[in-house]
């Protein structure tokens, strides 16, 4: 199973994401934002956390218009897997690969702490290593993680079982306590919390490990 992790100027979780994929058994290649295509045979694209382009204009807006993002969008449209974490989730909403947008946290503060997430669905390659209803501890570190979508979009997400994770104690004002959502074909996951920071016993928590093992395992056996 081959994964590519995108690197933008200002990405700072790119190597953490690569390590998490690699420890789960994936071959990982890094790709630069100016690249116009993904490496041949890539199954999964990771869009990492950080502050791409200094968060100028809007978080993720400039990254979303970079050359590599055209290739990422084409990969997703062809049924490829994409995983966006934190700033990567913001990039995926800015590209339109996932619906909604991430606003400034309701309390206006940057929040860096470990939070409880309820797994809402095990019906995806990313979440099949959990049971729906499990509560896992995963760190968040963001200033703009307040998920917003209009009522009809939220109803569609709820109705199609596309909410992957919900905060047990909403830290940022996200509508419907949403921490992560799936695409319509369930092959794209965007989430604000950082499972790659809870994927090794040295991290102080390993609740994120099951996500990487599940999706890498699923794509390796496919």
């Amino acid at each position: 199973m081959k994964a590519a992790v995108v690197v933008f100027p200002g990405s700072n979780c790119d190597r953490d994401l690569a390590v998490a994929f690699r420890n789960a058994g994936a071959d990982v290649e890094m790709v630069w934002h100016k690249d116009t295509e993904l490496p041949a045979g890539v199954d999964m694209v990771g869009v990492p956390g950080g502050f791409s382009f200094g968060d100028y204009l809007r978080c993720g807006a400039i990254a979303a218009n970079s050359p590599i993002c055209k290739a990422v969008k084409a990969h997703a449209e062809q049924g490829g897997y994409v995983f966006g974490v934190c700033n990567g989730f913001q990039v995926l909403t800015e590209t339109g690969i996932l619906p909604g947008a991430l606003l400034r946290n309701a309390g206006l503060k940057y929040i860096c702490k470990t939070v409880g997430l309820e797994v809402e669905t095990s019906q995806s390659a990313f979440t099949e290593g959990y049971n729906a209803g499990d509560v896992i501890d995963i760190p968040i570190a963001h200033h703009d993680g307040n998920y917003f979508a209009d009522d009809s979009t939220l109803n569609a997400l709820e109705g199609d079982d596309r909410i992957a994770f919900r905060y047990t104690d909403n830290p940022n004002g996200s509508r419907h306590d949403i921490a992560g959502i799936l695409s319509e074909n369930r092959r794209v996951l965007g989430m604000m919390p950082h499972p790659e920071r809870a994927a090794d016993s040295g991290h102080g928590g390993t609740d994120g490990q099951a996500l990487f093992r599940a999706v890498v395992g699923q794509l390796t056996s496919a």
Binding site: L57, N65, A101, L103, R104, N105, N146, F148, G173
Partner: protein, 76 residues
């Protein structure tokens, strides 16, 4: 030719920064303010031949996120 683009959060989208400004005004004794919305103004110095339709395209593609923001273009 210059274009001024005003970008605002849409009505119905919570504006935590505007709310914080409203609270701060209240704390200073300006109690006659019912609400504050904070947006941004982007000034573009346009090359010859760039018209309003081009600026609108720029807004749709990059300058505003129309999921959460509305925009208004002024040409001068």
């Amino acid at each position: 030719m210059k274009a001024t683009v005003h970008v605002m959060l849409k009505n119905g989208v919570l504006d935590p920064q505007g709310e914080a400004v409203r609270h701060a005004l209240g704390a200073l004794g300006f109690d006659g303010v019912n609400g504050v919305r904070q947006g941004k103004v982007i000034e573009l110095d346009l090359a010859d031949g760039t018209n309003e339709a081009d600026v609108t395209a720029m807004c749709e593609k990059l300058l505003a996120n129309t999921v959460i923001e509305s925009y208004r273009v002024e040409m001068s």
